[in-house]
């Protein structure tokens, strides 16, 4: 295992230390070592935006804590949900009394821990509402959308909800736009190689050289099909063939695109793939309002790519275009 770490059991602790030392202008520690919050949070009257999940997906989740994004994050072990207590402490860290929007991905562990944390919050008098991202079209048929996993679409959900909360909107409104964002978002992933959880020391699963797995999950959850590795243009086409009819995205729609590497994919390949996606969207009469291309949601050193599209109306578009600042996403206000 070629890894730059110390004790494999402490990679998350060590990572958090380095993270807060790097971004003292953006984030700070809280009483719970597994909860990080944005500087200046809680802010009187502002709804707290909280997320959380397993580690190893950087920038997700910790990298989206900042200005006009998430206010606090619950940090789990590598590829494992944070505990209920950690989620609860993140709620406490983010709540100014205006309530908390907990926006996370649809995984068994996270669902259970958030459920328990909400019970704890209820007892403590903190209002918590949740939106569960389920943008991964490969993880269940549309008819069972509630079973689908959340993947890179979560980034767009946080962007939208973070921008909304920053305007001072009430909890119901923040939840509404977050839900709207994820309801309008569809993703799919393609994996080319596996990854190794430091505490395990050996690869998590295996993809044969020369093959790719379409629909793979962020932790190596099984995809729709394993096939011969295709050229980037074909991969772009395959992904859109799955995503576009699912929402559906129709000619004339405007959208935001997000293409993320899974960790070890050379960044030039993301642009090579996005180039074709952009053209195919154009051919389908779809207009790209803004594109994010980079490493936005990874899985340690997996090779592969995720493609995410969010159909936008004026409201979603304005929230996407708003200024934001965090380790994973810093942008000035876009036109």
């Amino acid at each position: 295992m070629q890894r730059i770490i110390n004790d494999p059991a402490l990679v998350v602790e060590d990572m958090i230390e380095g993270f807060v030392k790097t971004y003292p202008h953006l984030v700070e520690k809280t009483g719970n070592p597994r909860v990080i919050k944005a500087v200046g949070i809680p802010r009187q009257g502002k709804v707290g935006v909280v997320t959380g999940g397993g580690s190893g997906h950087k920038p997700a989740f910790i990298g989206y804590v900042g200005r006009n994004l998430c206010d606090a994050v619950a940090i789990g072990e590598v590829f494992a949900s944070p505990s209920a207590q950690i989620f609860f402490d993140a709620f406490k860290a983010a709540d100014s009394g205006a309530g908390v929007a907990c926006l996370y991905g649809n995984y068994a562990g996270d669902n259970m821990n958030v459920k328990l944390a909400r019970r704890m919050a209820e007892k403590a008098g903190i209002r918590v509402e949740t939106v569960i991202a389920n943008d991964d079209v490969a993880s269940a048929p549309l008819s069972e959308r509630e079973k689908r996993r959340g993947v890179a679409g979560e980034v767009l959900m946080w962007k939208v909800a973070g921008a909304k909360a920053a305007t001072g909107a009430p909890l119901e409104e923040v939840i509404r736009v977050a839900q709207k964002a994820i309801d309008h978002t569809r993703s799919i992933g393609v994996g080319l190689t596996s990854c190794t959880i430091p505490a395990a020391g050996k690869p998590n699963f295996y993809i044969e050289p020369g093959k790719m797995e379409v629909g793979i999950g962020h932790h190596g959850e099984p995809g729709i099909s394993v096939m011969d590795l295709k050229p980037a243009d074909e991969i772009a086409r395959l992904c859109l063939e799955r995503i576009l009819p699912d929402l559906p995205f129709n000619s004339g729609d405007e959208l935001v695109a997000l293409v993320s590497g899974l960790g070890a994919t050379p960044v030039m390949e993301l642009y090579i793939t996005y180039s074709k996606i952009h053209d195919l969207l154009g051919e389908a009469g779809l207009k790209v309002a803004h594109a994010y291309v980079g490493n936005y949601f990874t899985s340690l050193e997996m090779m592969g790519i995720t493609v995410t599209l969010m159909k936008v109306d004026d409201e979603l578009k304005e929230l996407i275009m708003a200024e934001a600042e965090s380790m994973g996403l810093t942008q000035s206000k876009l036109a």
């Binding site: 397993g54 789990g76 072990e77 590829f79 494992a80 949900s81 944070p82 505990s83 209920a84 207590q85 950690i86 068994a108 562990g109 259970m112 821990n113 459920k115 328990l116 959880i197 505490a199 395990a200 050996k202 998590n204 699963f205 932790h219 190596g220 959850e221 099984p222």
Partner: protein, 213 residues
């Protein structure tokens, strides 16, 4: 053969659980490694180790002891195991709060509360190749035994036999939930790690509470 177990004697119950988990950790990880990510023993023993630290030299009631390990799992372990086993122990502990002796009815309530929260949280059914394949038959066997009016020890023996059988049944199942579901058909032929730990945990409880084996 014991008819009841004194609630004041929580420490042996807790130490029994901790020792069982720690001495089986490597085996549990190995089983998990065959189809999952090989960390079930790591996850569980982290909880056991922390519970031992929190317990220290204290004397505890059974309720306190079970809630102690439950809270450690809930607050410090995360993943799916933390909430599942954490709630399992917490509910068990809660159900014997204010009781002086655990008799067969009380343990039935404790087990029932634990089963209920696991179903509520995890949603797994018999046949999904999870710890529920050990737990649900074990609970059914215990209830059945109760109907036949045995003593606590005998009812607990019925429970662990059913848990053991349930655990063995996972060998021929295909995983539907969790990481092992990646393997589909290839997950057949190996035990489920959670069912194995569940069977061990029930046996440890039975050993202490039933004063038997």
């Amino acid at each position: 053969m014991a008819a009841t177990y004194p609630c004041s004697q929580g420490r042996p119950v807790l130490v029994g659980l901790i020792n069982t988990i720690e001495s089986n950790a490597a085996m549990l990880s190995e089983i998990d490694g065959a189809t999952g990510d090989g960390d079930h023993g790591i996850n569980m023993s982290k909880g056991a180790r922390r519970t031992r630290e929190v317990l220290g030299n204290q004397e505890v009631t059974v309720g306190q002891g079970l809630e102690m390990i439950g809270n450690v799992l809930l607050t410090e372990i995360g993943g799916a195991m933390g909430p599942l086993y954490g709630s399992f122990f917490n509910e068990m502990g809660g159900a014997c709060q204010g009781v002086e002796f655990i008799d067969k009815a009380t343990f039935g309530k404790m087990l029932g509360a634990a089963v209920e929260i696991m179903q509520d949280l995890g949603g797994a059914k018999v046949g999904d190749k999870t710890m529920m394949d050990a737990l649900l038959p074990a609970y059914d066997a215990y209830k059945m035994a109760l109907a036949g009016d045995p003593d606590l020890t005998t009812a607990l023996q019925s429970m662990i036999m059913a848990a053991e059988e349930g655990k063995e049944s996972t060998r021929n199942l295909v995983a539907k939930l969790g990481r092992a579901s990646r393997l589909g058909e290839r997950s057949r032929g190996t035990l489920d790690a959670g069912a194995t730990s569940c069977s061990l945990i029930l046996r440890s409880l039975a050993d202490t509470l039933g004063g038997g084996s």
